[in-house]
Amino acid sequence: MDPQHSRAFRVGIDVGGTFTDIVATGSDGRILVRKVASTTGDLSLGSSRGVSELLNENAIRADEVDVVVHATTTATNAVLEGKGARTALITTAGFRDILEFRRVRVPELYNLGYVKPAPLVPRSLRFEVSERLGPLGEIWRPLDEDSVRVAAARIQASGAEAVAICLLHSYVNPEHEKRVRAIIEEMLGDTLFVTCSHEILPEMREYERTSTTVINAYLGPVMKAYLQRLEERLTGLGTGRALHVMTSGGGQMSLKAAMNKPAYLVESGPAAGVIAAARIAKRLDLPNIITLDMGGTTAKTAIVEHAEPAKTSEFEVGAGINLSSKLVRGAGYAIKLPFIDVSEIGAGGGSKIWFDKGGVLKVGPESAGSEPGPVCYGKGGTVATLTDAFLTLGYVNSKYLVGGALGLEAGISQQAVRAQVAEPLGIDLRDAAYGAVTVAVANMVRAVKSVSTYRGRDPRGYTLIAFGGNGPLVGAMIAHELSMPRVLVPPHSGVLSAYGLLMADHEQELVRSYPARTAECDPAALNAAYEELSREAVDTLSAEGFAPQDIEVRRFADLRYVGQAYELTVPIAGSGVPVIAEVDAAFHEEHRKTYSHMSQSEPVGLVSIRIVASVRTPQPAEEPADAPEAAADAPPVTRDVYFGAVRGLHAVPVLRRAGLREGERAGPLLVEEYDSTCLVPPGATARVDRWNNIVITLEPRA
């Protein structure tokens, strides 16, 4: 930073499908928020426009912006819309169709109309080269370089812009892949974006590795162009000092690194929200939290223990709904990279309310989106949505959404709920709306369970952190269903993901295959392998300009009982020679915790070693008190809100967050803010803590 500047800002930009959220934090403790419409077509335009507006409004000079951190849906959209690069694939001879076979299973039973996703590389662009490695990396058949040249010539003629190379067992011996890359580059120059499987995912399982490699290549040219455009625009504003990108695993990457590994960016937005919640948990010393991020289309949940979000490497992009711990995959494109383990279900404000053929009320997963949106938007939507139900129940203020920028029409909303839900059921309008909310809550409860009870975790020991535009409305209801004792609604909860971007550490996660029984492991050799991996990560981060003394390396091991196929990842304490007995003990315990059984007499197998090298990001300063204007702009004092047949209709006080500062207040209450509304139901109490989080305490269930 230029020493003569006394202040500096960090800017987070989270580009979503509807809105681009921008949060800036200043070294002076200021937090500035801006929500602008996303610019479909060129999403980088909305980003730079929003940043420029935020800076101008607050009289911040561009050169006072130190760092910009970015999350984007561009990568996901490219896959969903089939707008990636024309990509070729090179495989081992005899295995051209691995990508298309996938894992063969289909995610829907009894559906003869099921259509599996079309492969990202059509068969005409899949080429075989003659070579074969064995499972120990031994050469069963040497690489026939002529076969590579033939493939390269065909790739050149095909007009492909990217090439993925994935040969069998290359995770133990990458030499053939390296040679194939060299020949391709030699013949075709550097015009193509090339990804080798050993570079992006040096792990066993050929379909998942091929798919991940293909996605990286498919996204490469598109993301490179997008990120370059963004860089140019921000540089144009004068803020281009350091530009980082959020990864799906919750870390940051430099823009340059991201250009070569775009497959890491697929779920950057949802990850940022979880990171923010994890930091809040750490600050409050909450060991166990579950996050609920509910927006317009979906609700996302994740589990965070001891400030560490649970991770997964089983993700499918484009699968529509992604339940963590989902049983049957195959609906999307597999990416086996570190992801924050987010469960996502189709329950958002825009979710449509409907009846199935048996007459049962359903909500979602189909969404009215933002165009035309819920009926109350008055933009031509005719199907009643969850937001219409919220409005009917008095949960949201027709005049105060997004600070009043989005006026809602309560009348037509109620008409739709009455005609489409109440009359078919023969019940009262409010009961119908309440029923729809109850069904949506039941769906979200399933998403919370999939990250908790499905993994042997009892949600009663967890705090729910609710955010996103709609999370604070339903958080307490979900917690109630699961007997969770407490809900926390952080400040800026409607733009928390953008805020989370400013909290994420720089991370480099590396994995190496290390097949061995722990009992037969040489601890010294294992230590050497960890050290080599650490060196590689430290070198990468150093090259990005970080001082080696700021880099922290943590070790993990992927373990299973010999004979099992699924591993559990266990942290390995310290940085010295590992104690095998401790490693085994940690694994037995994790297995017991996850599956409620363990078997200490069974041999434990090490599958891979894993390290995470990270550079801590300075955390934004403590939240200041609400700005005084909040009180001046006070909303009406009470509103009628319906809480179901048992608890009935209440005249509910409507407050700003500052209104809770005087002490604990009993529900029902509504807390209205610029970007979301928080509902405190009857029987619960609420207060704000010293970090300005709303803390809702639920009465214990009978």
């Binding site: 169709d97 069998l168 499905y454």
Partner: protein, 606 residues
């Protein structure tokens, strides 16, 4: 919807039950040992009500799902009043315990609330080896169930929380793969424990009476849904027959004759006229036949029905005693999977007469199940297995897909790299077969092939496959699919194996076993196929240029369709073929080097 029930509570309970069943399935998948359970996912889970009726099932294997009712009925009728909190039951017997074949182990835990059973957690997993004639428990050539391995009546594996240590010991001594089998059983027990906790919490929350009332309503609701769909079908009797090629070197075709009788809102599946039971392991004890009928009806009606037993009330199954679909004890049944697929094909064929726009032509005919087993040089047992699938038939709306699981089995494929790192085998190829599948306006899915090179000194191969003589049927002018083949060492010195060899086949080091699976049937007249689609298949190297012109009458020059020449050729072919063109089967034979090989060593089916 009856007014006595709050539709919202009903949905909440249904959701909660579904999530318990999914959680069960997940615990098994993650902590199981055998590749058949963890990779192929050949297992199932269910949550049952106080009478043992299924109220929710995990999204797993369709064939199993319809078989829980018979198993649970057997358990409840034998042990009613004799269960204690903490009991866990184990069984696999198809004759008397509701099993389907011996490898499928049921492990079931009653859930007590207070002093009464208010529900059950039920799991079923296909064990990789339980003894018997051949590794994997699928020796086609077994003639009685006594040859097929360990047979377990309904026993208490845990009695009031106390494990009966004798049972796992007996199981271990009777298995070639004791570590895997005991590991999988542990996973099933763990899942039962998890499920019990969740179900008990759910019941306590609503109270026993209310919960019973709502689960009863769930059954009624599922029944209403399916009856509404059946009512929409025209009343009548619809018949169809399909065949298995038969067994061994001189196979006799085995007939599956199905009549669907639709009367109002009820459907009867009648197998009168089906072949008698056989002296081989492909008989399907009645739970199998029930399960397949439920599955076929659900697939055909095309509407999501909740996994509650109530829907089964609208379906009656009639199967002549002593037939292959309802055999008498002690008929062998280890490899009964193959007849499941043919029952499915026959029922769907009958449905195609009612629902021509929904039902596709026949798929590949079911999973092919090779088992290559032996002992390593250091005397450790190995078993290379895993069902191969598959492709779907063409339909009114689209081509049949390839590289997709059979709708009746939905099994996964094990990663090749995982298989090779654990077992003495090189997979020599795993790919689509050129010029395969049945031509049609919408073609059938193309076939797959897979090769196995043995890296140990010796092993025995047991193979279960089908569809060489009687091909997967086409519909409405579409051609039947292409035949399946089995070879040892394809090439000049190859040995051609029957679809179901009636003995195990010895393999020596470096021998290659190659399986080419059947391609699926086509739908509609091939000459009506869009030339652009033919061109795309050609560009994807799924067909050759000659095939495009001979079979589809599409002339392709320099990577583009020659419209004029195509029009002329199609007219000539339609008018009765002035020029003798090679048939699609000739092209397939050329592509697979199977020209001149006899597909029908015996008389064709009558």
């Amino acid at each position: 919807m009856s007014r006595r029930f709050d539709p919202i509570t009903l949905d909440v309970i249904q959701n909660a039950l579904g999530s318990i069943a999914d959680e069960l399935a997940l615990v098994i998948m993650r902590s199981a040992y055998s590749n058949i359970v963890r990779d192929a996912m050949d297992y199932s889970t269910a949550v049952c009500d106080h009478e043992g009726r299924t109220v929710a099932q995990g999204l797993t294997t369709p064939v199993h799902l319809g078989s829980f009712p018979d198993a649970m009925r057997a358990l409840v009728s034998q042990f009613a009043g004799r269960m204690s909190d903490g009991d866990i039951f184990i069984f696999n017997d198809p004759y008397g315990a509701g099993g389907m074949h011996l490898p499928d182990f049921y492990i079931v835990k009653p859930v007590f609330v207070g002093s009464y059973v208010e529900g059950y957690i039920a799991t079923l997993a296909h064990q990789c080896d339980i003894g018997g004639l051949a590794p994997g428990g699928m020796a086609v050539f077994a003639t009685e169930i006594y040859q097929e391995g360990l047979r377990i009546p309904i026993l208490k594996l845990h009695d009031a929380g106390v494990p009966n240590e004798a049972i796992p010991q007996i199981v271990a001594k009777n298995s070639r793969q004791p570590v895997e089998v005991l590991g999988d059983i542990r996973a099933q027990i763990a899942a039962c424990g998890n499920g019990e906790k969740g179900l008990r919490q759910l019941i306590e929350r609503y109270g026993v009476d209310e919960f019973r009332r709502y689960t009863a309503e769930l059954h009624d609701y599922a029944e209403r849904l399916i009856r509404a769909e059946i009512s929409a079908l025209p009343d009548g009797t619809y018949e169809f027959e399909d065949f298995l090629d038969g067994l061994g070197e001189n196979p006799e075709p085995i007939r599956f004759k199905c009549a669907l009788i639709i009367a109002g809102d009820h459907i009867t599946v009648d197998w009168e006229g089906t072949s008698p039971q056989v002296k081989a392991a492909i008989n399907g004890p009645i739970p199998t036949t029930h399960a397949m009928a439920y599955l076929a009806v659900r697939c055909a009606i095309g509407v999501a029905i909740p996994n509650c037993e109530g829907y089964m009330r609208a379906i009656t199954v009639k199967a002549p005693k002593g037939s292959i679909v309802n055999p008498n004890e002690p008929a062998a049944c280890g490899a009964r999977g193959v007849i499941c697929f043919r029952m499915y094909d026959a029922m769907l064929g009958a449905f195609s007469q009612i629902l021509p726009n929904r039902i596709p032509a026949a798929n590949e005919g079911g999973s092919s199940a090779p088992h290559i087993a032996g002992r390593t040089r250091d005397n450790r047992p190995f078993l290379i297995s895993g069902g191969l699938m598959g492709c779907w038939g063409g339909s009114a709306v689209r081509d049949g897909q390839e590289g997709i699981s059979n709708p009746a089995a939905n099994l996964g494929n094990a990663p090749i790299e995982l298989v090779e790192s654990r077992l003495p085998v090189e997979i020599t190829c795993y790919s689509f077969v050129q010029n395969s599948g049945g031509p049609g306006r919408h073609r059938g899915g193309v076939a797959l092939m897979r090769g196995y090179r043995l890296l140990e000194e010796e092993a025995e191969l047991v193979m279960r496959s089908d569809r060489r003589a009687v091909l997967p049927y086409g519909l409405f002018g579409g051609e039947p699919g292409t035949p399946s083949w089995n070879f040892i060492n394809p090439g000049p010195d190859q040995i051609v194996l029957p679809v179901c060899p009636f003995a195990s086949v010895p393999m020596k080091q470096d021998d290659i076993f190659l399986h080419i699976q059947a391609g699926a049937g086509g739908y509609g007249d091939p000459l009506e196929r869009a030339p652009a689609k033919v061109l795309l298949d050609l560009l994807n190297e799924l067909i050759t240029t000659d095939y495009a012109s001979d079979v589809y009458g599409v002339v392709i020059l320099d990577g583009a369709v020659d419209e004029v020449a195509t029009g002329e050729l199609r007219r000539a072919l339609a008018s009765g073929g002035t020029i003798a063109k090679a048939s699609y089967l000739d092209h397939f034979a050329r592509a697979t080097c199977t020209e001149g090989l006899a597909r029908k060593p015996n008389a064709s089916p009558t």
